[in-house]
């Protein structure tokens, strides 16, 4: 445990409140007491916030499904959540299958080598076919826990996102945190490499690219008196909004939520 910097340490790590300098000569006990009080107050706020969010969530949602925390959680949760919602919906799966098949040509137009996207596309098509032929939730679980299928699905959803961003580069350019980066560079470093985490820009692009509406509930302290909800519509007609998939976001991670 650190015994230095106790007076300036203002982070809310649980150990920080105990890291007092008993051996130092110029101990500022008042200052340390103040820091400790602040920590306790923060802990209370955090606890109340978690209680509040849980209570609010329980009003509307019955389950949460935890996803693997490997940086791919948004895409993996999306893939699983989407297929789960449409297990028996042949029409919708057909629509999605066509989008999957057509993405390859778009990628080739954007300069990708055919064989480097074909292998991924084929495995995703195979996955969709498996679901069509008798998909139930245990089956889907098995598929998404098998790396050979699951990672290909994640990679292809990343390509959906990347292609949509690139094809609408002018629109998305102003969303970038680093304005000197081009959309193409952003896609190369922040979208396509596996395990890169997702932000709002990725979510907007994927929702539009595959035409699926999403809702994200943020548990990130940005609002303490009500739930922070962001809806990502796949069309501009927001009155019709109904999310296919709902995510719970906690900093750095997405899980799935299931409505009552």
């Amino acid at each position: 445990m650190s015994t230095s910097n106790s007076e300036t340490n203002t982070n809310n790590h649980p150990d920080a409140a105990n890291s007092f300098n008993y051996s130092g000569k110029d101990v500022d006990l008042d200052g340390q007491t103040h820091v400790q009080q602040k920590h306790i107050e923060q802990e209370v706020v955090n606890f109340c916030y978690v209680c509040f969010v849980c209570k609010e969530l329980m009003k509307k949602y019955k389950y949460i499904r935890k996803t693997r925390g490997d940086g791919n959680c948004f895409y993996r949760a999306f893939g699983f959540g989407y297929l789960e919602q449409n297990l028996k919906n042949e029409l919708e799966l057909d629509r999605f299958r066509k989008l999957v098949a057509d993405l390859k040509d778009k990628l080739v137009q954007l300069g990708y080598q055919e064989f480097t996207v074909e292998d991924v596309r084929d495995v995703v098509l195979e996955t969709i076919d498996k679901i069509c032929q008798g998909g139930d939730i245990p089956n889907l679980m098995k598929i998404f826990c098998t790396q050979e299928y699951s990672d290909y699905f994640v990679a292809y959803l990343r390509l959906f996102t990347s292609a949509y961003l690139q094809m609408n580069a002018e629109f998305f350019q102003s969303f970038l945190d680093e304005p000197s980066k081009t959309i193409k560079e952003f896609c190369c470093t922040e979208v396509e490499p596996m395990a890169r985490e997702s932000d709002n820009i990725h979510i907007i692009a994927l929702a539009k690219a595959v035409q699926v509406s999403l809702r994200v509930i943020y548990m990130d302290h940005s609002e303490t008196s009500q739930l922070t909800i962001h809806d990502f519509a796949h069309t501009d007609n927001e009155q019709m909004f109904h999310p296919t998939i709902t995510f719970l976001y906690r900093p750095g991670h997405y899980d799935l939520l299931y409505e009552n």
């Binding site: 480097t116 996207v117 495995v123 396509e192 395990a195």
Partner: protein
């Protein structure tokens, strides 16, 4: 290994055969051995040794342009989601290659640069580019990097000696 992965590797190998001006392919995983691999359990660690590509790169700038250099490209079990590992088998005197033959190529940086859609041909070209045009601020051998910057004549002399001693023919 999945079918998708084997198909991909076979095409990668074919593409590597198509660039005789920059790369001479010497060893590649063949489809028959992959069928044997497929019948084994997926987690068998012995599988990894069957996924090695070996070939000689043909740099274009002096003194390296006088020879060819054997490199090993090891394809990981979770390719293309993890990048291949590239290593020099032929000794080469270069600031970006360490004593074990390890070379640092930006493309292969898992966290920031590696994408499943990067073709292996691009990796080979990136290796040749760094040999032709050393990147001193990413040196793996600090001594050679220093010599490259401060005593270019001596650097070229030693590099040429290595070429004469270890480099392989270009045909």
């Amino acid at each position: 290994m999945s079918g998708g992965q084997m198909k991909r590797i076979m095409i990668e190998v074919k593409k590597l055969r198509d660039i005789p001006q920059t790369f001479i392919l010497e060893k590649a995983p063949d489809e028959d051995s992959s069928k044997v691999t497929n019948t084994r359990t997926a987690s068998s660690s012995a599988d990894s040794t069957s996924n090695i590509i070996i070939g000689r790169i043909l740099p274009k700038s002096a003194p390296y342009s006088q020879g060819s250099y054997q490199v090993e490209i090891k394809i990981p079990a979770d390719f293309p989601f993890k990048p291949p590992e590239v290593k020099f088998l032929t000794q080469i005197y270069h600031p970006n290659v360490d004593k074990e033959g390890k070379i640092c190529v930006d493309l292969l940086n898992t966290a920031e640069a590696w994408k499943p859609t990067t073709p292996i041909v691009d990796i080979v070209n990136a290796v040749i580019k760094i040999i032709d045009d050393p990147k001193i601020d990413h040196a793996l051998n600090a001594e050679i990097a220093q010599q490259y910057q401060n005593n270019r004549a001596q650097f070229i002399k030693t590099a040429t000696e290595f070429v004469n001693k270890y480099a392989l023919p270009r045909t």
